[in-house]
Structure formats: C-alpha cells, structure tokens
C-alpha cells in the first residue's frame, strides 16, 4: 500500500524538468541527508510559489501599466514578485539550509505586500461611485489579484519549513501539521482563484462554454483536497490527484484560450496595445497549474504522514 502510494507520488509533477534536478540535489554528497518526500514536496511548493509569483509579476505589470502607474505604489507588486521569484528559483537549486532565513524573510514580505495590496484594492473599489457594486468588482482594481502574492509567499514559506525539517521529525508550522496546512491552504487558494475566474468569466457572460471549466473543476479538486486535509491521512488519493492534474491542465489550456481571446478581439494580436490589456489576461490561468502542484505536494505529505502513522520507517532515498 505504502509502496504503491509512493509510486504514485513519484509520478512526474507538472513542471516536468524539475524532478531529475531534485534527485540530483538529493544525491549530492555535500548535502546532509534529508527525507526524500520532504525534499520533493518542498521543491514543488517552491515551484508553485515561483509560478504564482511569475503570474503576479506579468499580470500586475500589464494591469498596472493599464493603470498608467499613476500611483508609485503600483510598482510594489512588480518588485516583490520579482524578488519572490528569485527566492523560489534560489530555493529550488540551493542546498538545504543555504539562504534559508533570507528566503523565509522574502516570503513573509510577499505575504505582507499581498495583504497591503488587497487593502489598496478594497479602497479603490470603495472610492468609486457605486462602492461595492458589480461595476466596480468587474472593472476597478481586482480584489483577488494581490492575494495571489499572499499565496505565493505562503507556499514558499511552507517549502522553507519543510526543507528545514529533519527527516525523522514530522514537519510542523506554528504548531500545525505542514501537510494539513498545505492541503487546506492550497484548497482555499484554489477556491479563491476559481472565484476570481468565476467573477471575470461572468463579466464575459460565459460566452464560450470552455469558460465553465475553471469554475467547476478546480472547486471540486479543492473540495477533495480540503477534505483530505481535514481527515486522518491515508496512503493514497487517486481521485484527488486526478482532479488536481486536470486542474493543472485547465490552467495551461487557459493560457491558450486567452491567447485565442486576444486574437479574436478587434485587430487581433496586431492590436496588442489594446487587446493584451482589454482582452482575457494571458498570465493568470497558470496559477491553477501552480496551485495544483502545491496541492499534489500536500497530498504527498499527507501520504507520508499516513505511512509514518503506520510505523513504516521513513525510507532513505534509493541510490
């Protein structure tokens, strides 16, 4: 059973090239032995944090360009997202322990920036005629966008925690199990992202049936993931895993759909000046893939918990 579960979790995660990299690092003689599952989960969470930071960077660059950077604070998410992206890249490659504290600080900064950004966006909505109205939810500063930075920061933060956990200890954050936190956090973030997609696809009148995918499948995956996080850990989550994989696929396909949306607007890609800004946002759908990656990391950790609860000794990395 456990073996089986391990095999499953060894299925290549979405960000393809990352696996051999991780095992290379794991094999590096200079490194202290770490738990293989921790190693991979931390890796995936870093990757997820990085992908979200990248999406925030591109999306806020475009959206704040649209807002003409009329407030200097509008550069903040660009800066923070870039730093976060760098930290995740570093975290993916650096030996465990190296730069850990620095990266942790950066991820905390990302969370804080996201929170302040959300505040700004709420203020922007309230200051407009109509206040909290559909018009402003649709067209004023989007409420969900800055929270992506929070999610990115949290994922990175968890990754740091996991990496810093010795193989024989169970990873905990603020007294809670990391596996559960990761599962519930990813589930929540998926729901939030889905809600944002729902709002914007509603704005688009669901004119294309494909627009229903990101508002139906990810919430199911999130539900299953949340459920897994709340219940005692078990050895395998095949359905949840499959749903997360599908969510990731939607995220990647979404980018394609959005690119098609830009092409379909008046003037198409030739009119990118307008259509990249007014058309469907190309950088946002990959967030689904990132969150699916984080969710899968959480499942792997949960399965790991289950195997420990079954007193299966934590296995060393196979040579």
């Amino acid at each position: 059973m456990t073996k089986d579960a391990d095999n499953r979790s060894a299925a290549p995660p979405i960000s393809g090239g990352a696996i051999p990299e991780a095992s290379n690092i794991a094999r590096a003689p200079s490194r202290p032995a770490t738990d293989r599952v921790y190693e991979r989960s931390a890796h995936d969470l870093h990757a997820a944090a990085g992908l979200i930071a990248l999406s925030v960077l591109l999306d806020s660059a475009v959206e704040h360009y649209r807002g003409s950077y009329h407030n200097k604070a509008m550069f903040t998410p660009l800066v923070t997202a870039t730093i976060t992206l760098t930290a995740t890249a570093h975290g993916l490659r650096a030996p465990a322990g190296l730069g850990h504290a620095g990266r942790r600080g950066i991820f905390v900064l990302a969370v804080a920036t996201g929170a302040v950004g959300t505040g700004f966006h709420v203020y922007d909505i309230l200051a407009k005629p109509g206040g909290i109205s559909w018009q402003n939810l649709f067209y004023a500063a989007p409420l969900g966008a800055p929270s992506a930075l929070i999610v990115s920061g949290l994922a990175g933060f968890l990754a740091e925690h996991i990496r810093a956990t010795p193989p024989d200890e169970s990873a905990r954050v603020f007294g809670h199990s990391v596996s559960r936190s990761a599962a519930l956090g990813s589930a929540l973030a998926l729901v939030g992202t889905s809600a944002e997609a729902a709002l914007l696809h509603f704005r688009g009148a669901f004119q294309n049936p494909a627009m229903f995918f990101p508002v139906t499948l990810p919430p199911v995956a999130a539900g299953l993931l949340g459920f897994a996080g709340l219940r005692p850990a078990v050895g395998a989550y095949p359905v949840t895993q499959a749903c997360l994989t599908a969510t990731a696929a939607i995220g990647l396909a979404g980018t394609g759909f959005h690119a098609y949306g830009v092409a379909r607007a008046m003037g198409g890609w030739r009119n990118w000046h307008q259509n990249l800004l007014d058309g469907p946002p190309i950088p946002t759908p990959p967030s689904f893939a990132a969150l699916a990656l984080a969710g899968r990391a959480a499942l792997r950790l949960l399965a790991h918990d289950a195997s420990r609860a079954g007193h299966t000794p934590a296995r060393a990395v196979p040579p």
Binding site: G67, S68, H70, M266, G267, Q274, L277, D278
Partner: protein
C-alpha cells in the same frame, strides 16, 4: 422636487453661461492649444486608422483650393466670412474651409433637408453671400472682403442679431442664414479637419484600435498629452509617441 430654481438661460454677456460654481466669460481672446506638440496625423499609419479612414481624410486634405461651385465674387466673400468665424492658428496647417464648403455643396453631400423658409443648402449659401455683399455695399459702399476686420465683425453681428433687412435676403432672413448656414457649416468643416483635432487634443480616428484607459485623468499612450500646469518638456517627449 427641484430644490433650487435656476435661470435656465444664462445672461447674454456671459455667453449663455449660468452663474454657478464660476462662469468667467471668455474675454481671454487668445485661443491657446493645450497640446502644442500633438499631431493627430502622426497616427495615420497606426492601428487607430483603417483604410476607409485614410481614404476619406486623404481626400479631405487634398481638396482643390479653387471654387467650382461658387462664383468668384461669392468665393471672395466666403473666404472673408470664414476668416472671421474661425480665425486659424498660425502654427498649424490651414484648414481650407471655403474650399471644403465649395466641394461639399458641389457634390451635394449635405444633410438634405431644409428648414422653412430657407432654401436648400447650396442655393441658400449663394443667396446669403450675395445678400451679405449687398449689405456691405449698402452700408459701407465697399465689398465685404475689403472691409476692415472690425467692420466685418460688426456686420456679421448684425446679421446674427437679425438686424439686417436687405431685400436680397428674402425669403430667408439674415438671422436664419447666420444660424443655419454660417454658424452650422463653417465650424463643422473646421472641426472636420485634423488641424483642429490636434489643436483640441481629440484622439481623432479610432478603429480598429479604440481606447483602453477610460477613467478620469487617464489617457492611452496614443492620446494627446495635455500641457497644462506641468512643464512643456516631458510632454514634448511623450506626445511624439502618440501614434
């Protein structure tokens, strides 16, 4: 329900402005563009223009400058009237208003209807210019174009106020001709020309590319940048990119 009663028409000396929140009359008679370096034609080859637009604007800019509809004398009067109704900026290409009007009437590209008792646009214009000329000769013994600008203005003001009654106007009146022809057609032709669009900072033709930034005090990079209180230097740099 209306908590406040207002005089619906502002006094004539304020040009019809209502006295709330401030209504200084425009005695600053020195029309200054807020967009000195903006040229809407810089966008001609951009996505803001389509082929149909390029065709019609090119034709407008190339309109023949000599009369084909009006007689020589009518043309001279018309040119003088246009100068008084819409004095043109020195630093931009001139709008050939008289030529545009001549072309429009020759091709009868008008709104089609007439308001009783005015004749249709073409005949109304011919008759009106003849009548104005007759008024000039009757009052000053000189052709309208030969009068000083001040006297020309005075005569046009009399026409606007309906105080000119030469039989040559019949069945029109000077006031109707002034309102429906002079004050309708001449401004419409001036503001149909890129020179005026640049001057007032209008975005000009827009299609297939329209606009993205719709909010207060926001503009797209392809719109004119206002040189208001800010210094001129950065605007110069920026409006050149309005293309």
């Amino acid at each position: 329900m209306s908590r406040l009663r207002l005089t619906i028409k502002g006094p004539a000396e304020s040009g019809g402005l209502i006295a709330i929140n401030g209504s200084t009359p425009m005695d600053n008679i020195d029309p200054r563009s807020l967009y000195p370096d903006y040229d809407v034609l810089a966008k001609r080859t951009s996505l803001s223009w389509n082929d149909a637009t390029r065709r019609v604007i090119d034709a407008r800019l190339a309109v023949p400058r000599e009369p084909r509809f009006f007689s020589g004398e009518q043309w001279a009067t018309l040119v003088a009237v246009c100068r008084r109704i819409l004095p043109q900026p020195a630093d931009r290409p001139e709008v050939p208003i008289a030529a545009l009007l001549d072309n429009l009437l020759r091709t009868d590209d008008t709104q089609g209807f007439r308001v009783d008792p005015l004749p249709y646009d073409g005949p109304a214009w011919k008759q009106g210019l003849v009548a104005l000329e007759a008024e000039a000769r009757a009052a000053y013994h000189a052709a309208f174009p030969a009068l000083s600008e001040r006297v020309q203005d005075a005569l046009l003001k009399e026409a606007q106020a309906g105080r000119l009654h030469h039989p040559a106007w019949a069945p029109m009146t000077a006031a109707l001709f002034f309102k429906h022809r002079i004050l309708t057609d001449i401004p419409a032709l001036y503001y149909a020309h890129p020179t005026s669009w640049s001057e007032i900072g209008f975005g000009g033709p827009a299609g297939p590319r329209g606009y993205v930034r719709m909010g207060l005090n926001r503009r797209d990079p392809w719109e004119a940048r206002e040189v208001g209180a800010t210094s001129q230097a950065p605007a110069r740099a920026l409006t050149r990119h309005a293309r």
